[in-house]
């Protein structure tokens, strides 16, 4: 998609989102709740800062030593009997997973919630090859029925009302009576899924943290579907990004605490799985085979840039999204990407290129709320600003983000050159001020999108420097 087309497509998604008042109300109340819940978990701001600094240090340390830790991780996993596979990109990851499933003769697969599987569009890849992958996370299950993508990385179906969900379940599973009662709906989904778990040929999951020291895959979840997907079927395939590794087991509790508290305001989730090996001889349950697919997909490239590298610290809590005043207006689908909100506006242009999706960086008022709540202190506003600069730069370098300079427009370039001419000289600026104040009546009554929502502020009749001189202040 050309740079102009991507901007147009983004604007049209924004227009559609802003037109949906019901969705805005849903997002608003959900985000209010998430922000309040988070705040309750962090009553002491100083302590929170200390915890964020610690988590930041843990993740930064892991990223600095990424190659060593990944080697160590692979060695430990293999020792534990977990088979490790490396994928350069989504296509490779899907092909690997497909091969594993085919070898096992798997036709029916259950999957726990995994953003990386969204990133590589795993479901479609398998479906096209005759393998049905069933989403077992309740939110993801609902979206699969609706044929939609997640609008939030932690609460994928947050845009759906309970009426929407009731209709979907009843339509696809008419044997269950229509109900809008949340508990009844949950029970219905539970019954449907329970049967699938028992008959699945394989289970797929994501990973939250990988521990190099012990070769442990940690999985955070609330519904038990993660545990079912990773223990009931004969094969478990975990897929995740290479950046999820941490050095030691003691690194996990500080990150886990911040993850659950920042994400949903829970002190801990209902389930926390630590997967270390497949079923051992004499054991009654657990998968016979466990595989880990480690995905790069541009992460190594990001890691080489000392500023962009910070993005890889992300533990996918979604807190930046919950606190984003733009996200709450437009919702997740408007971004048109796997990862929405502030983290998406940074990650997606890096992943796909500024020429493909750089327009996302314009949907940010740089208010800084995201950076304040990020549990690993990713400087999101700074990164968005950096990407904006790369998107309009004239000096294209091989090191930077793909699609550098693709959003550079002549009109904008000349506007800023003109601005620089006026504001870069005391004399010209004073002349400009004289004209603006003396000819204030000629101020245009409309100024594009600005005056659609506001009146125009006219220049004052005298500028401050004139007024200050009159009031006896010293000039220098």
């Amino acid at each position: 998609m050309s740079a102009t087309n991507q901007s147009k497509a983004f604007q049209s998604r924004i227009g559609e989102a802003l037109g949906n008042q019901q969705a805005h109300t849903n997002f608003r109340s959900a985000m209010n709740m998430l922000m309040e819940n988070r705040l309750k978990q962090f009553p002491d701001q100083e302590e929170l800062l200390h915890k964020r600094q610690r988590a930041d240090a843990i993740r930064a340390h892991a990223l600095r030593n990424l190659p060593t830790l990944l080697e160590k991780l692979e060695q430990k996993l293999v020792e534990n009997g977990i088979q490790v596979h490396w994928a350069e990109n989504g296509e490779e990851a899907n092909a690997l997973i497909h091969q594993l499933l085919s070898q096992a003769g798997a036709r029916s697969v259950v999957k726990g919630k995994s953003m990386v599987s969204e990133e590589i569009d795993l479901n479609h890849y398998m479906e096209e090859r005759g393998i049905k992958v069933l989403e077992s996370d309740l939110g993801e299950f609902i979206l699969q029925l609706a044929g939609e993508t997640p609008s939030h990385i932690v609460m994928p179906a947050i845009h759906k009302s309970k009426q929407d969900i009731a209709e979907l379940i009843h339509k696809h599973y008419p044997e269950h009576p229509y109900s809008e009662d949340v508990d009844t709906l949950t029970q219905q989904a539970r019954q449907i899924l329970r049967d699938k778990f028992c008959h699945a040929d394989a289970g797929i999951s994501g990973v939250n943290f990988m521990v190099a020291e012990t070769g442990t895959l940690c999985l955070v979840e609330n519904e038990g579907n993660g545990r079912m997907s990773t223990t009931v079927p004969p094969i478990h395939i975990a897929v995740t990004g290479i950046e999820k590794v941490v050095e030691s087991l003691s690194d996990v509790p500080p990150l886990l605490e911040l993850l659950t508290k920042s994400a949903t305001g829970q002190p801990i989730t209902a389930y926390f799985n630590m997967i270390t090996r497949p079923r051992q001889r004499g054991e009654m349950d657990g998968p016979q085979e466990v595989h880990l697919v480690l995905l790069d997909n541009g992460r190594s490239h990001i890691r080489r840039d000392e500023e962009l590298l910070d993005t890889l610290r992300c533990i996918r809590c979604g807190s930046c999204i919950n606190h984003c005043p733009v996200y709450v207006q437009v919702g997740g689908h408007a971004y048109g990407t796997v990862y929405p909100g502030p983290i998406g506006s940074v990650l997606e242009p890096m992943r796909q290129g500024l020429d493909k999706i750089g327009a996302l960086t314009s949907a940010c008022s740089l208010c800084g709320a995201c950076g304040q709540v990020c549990p690993v202190q990713i400087p999101l506003p700074k990164l968005i600003n950096r990407l904006r600069a790369e998107a309009v730069t004239q000096q294209v370098e091989t090191q930077g983000v793909k699609g550098q300079g693709s959003l550079r427009k002549l009109l904008e370039v000349w506007t800023w050159k003109g601005w620089r001419l006026i504001f870069g000289s005391g004399l010209r600026y004073r002349l400009f001020k004289l004209l603006a104040t003396r000819l204030r009546r000629l101020t245009p009554p409309k100024m594009g999108g600005w005056s659609r929502y506001r009146t125009i502020a006219k220049p004052a009749s005298r500028s401050l420097d004139e007024m200050a001189a009159k009031a006896g202040f010293d000039h220098e």
Binding site: I14, L18, H24, P325, V326, Q329, S362, A363, C364, S365, L366, C367, G368, A369, G371, K382, N385, R388, A389, A391, V392, E412, V413, W416, W419, R420, I422, F423, G424, S425, G426, Y429, K433, A436, T437, G448, G449, W450, S451, R452, Y453, R454, T455, I456, A457, K458, P459, A460, R462, S463, L464, D465, E466, M467, A468, A471, F473, D474, H475, E476
Partner: protein
């Protein structure tokens, strides 16, 4: 905080282009508050803009050229007071990044270290004491995101207002949420910005206050313009004007 040894005898006033052109009375009130406290206020006549609009739009070369001109207007090693959190944040937080590796980096870093937002300066350096002479009134505060998230000085405006015995400060829902200005964001994404300022106006009006006070003219231009467009009665005012109006004997 608020140590008398921090009290300088003279300061520069960095007006900001928005205040200079559109809201000079807010700037003048800020200067008057400092002068009244016995500090000489100097207004460098050649000053223009801190470079923020271009910087936040990705045009760093242009931002640097304008910032460099601005830097040359404040040469002496005395505090620079800014009636705006966002412009103060640009100088104190982003100039070191913008000038990094440039020949004048040291001067820029020096000025960054002596630049303060107005309410921050009034509280931390002047320990300003206020006596409320006004009628009872109810107001609501909108703290700019740069004052809150970038500078971390959001309680300064509140502590100044708390000194005014006849002023009741009402709390708005989601007080930390951005008003939707964001400089060029409001031009590039007018519809998102418009939806944001609509929500902000609703939250402010629901407090029942008669006036909304802020330390940033950008937020006030955005909120005030939307309030006026919608024919609402809530009045926007810069904190400096409000403080001066409440405490000036001659008023």
């Amino acid at each position: 905080m608020a140590m008398s040894s921090d009290r300088p005898s003279e300061v520069y006033f960095l007006a900001t282009c928005l205040t200079d052109l559109l809201y000079p009375r807010a700037g003048l009130a800020g200067m008057e508050l400092i002068r009244r406290a016995g500090v000489r206020v100097i207004y460098p006549k050649r000053q223009s803009c801190c470079g923020q609009p271009a910087y936040n739009s990705g045009y760093r070369d242009e931002a640097l050229k304008v910032a460099r001109h601005q830097l040359s207007c404040f040469p002496r090693n005395i505090p620079v007071v800014v009636p705006s959190g966002s412009c103060a944040g640009m100088v104190s937080h982003h100039w070191p990044e913008l000038f990094a590796g440039k020949p004048d980096e040291a001067e820029a870093v020096n000025m960054a270290g002596r630049t303060f937002e107005l309410t921050q300066f009034l509280v931390d350096h002047l320990d300003l004491q206020l006596e409320d002479l006004g009628e009872p009134t109810e107001i609501v505060v909108h703290t700019s995101c740069s004052s809150r998230n970038e500078l971390g000085i959001e309680e300064r405006i509140e502590s100044l207002l708390a000194q005014l015995s006849n002023v009741t400060v009402r709390e708005q829902a989601r007080k930390a949420e951005c008003c939707g200005f964001g400089g060029t964001f409001s031009i590039k994404q007018p519809d998102i910005s418009g939806a944001m300022v609509q929500d902000k106006c609703d939250a402010l009006e629901q407090t029942g206050a008669t006036r909304v006070v802020s330390q940033d003219c950008g937020c006030l231009m955005n909120i005030g313009g939307a309030l006026e467009k919608q024919g609402r009665t809530l009045q926007p005012q810069h904190i400096a004007e409000f403080l001066l109006e409440r405490t000036n004997v001659s008023n």
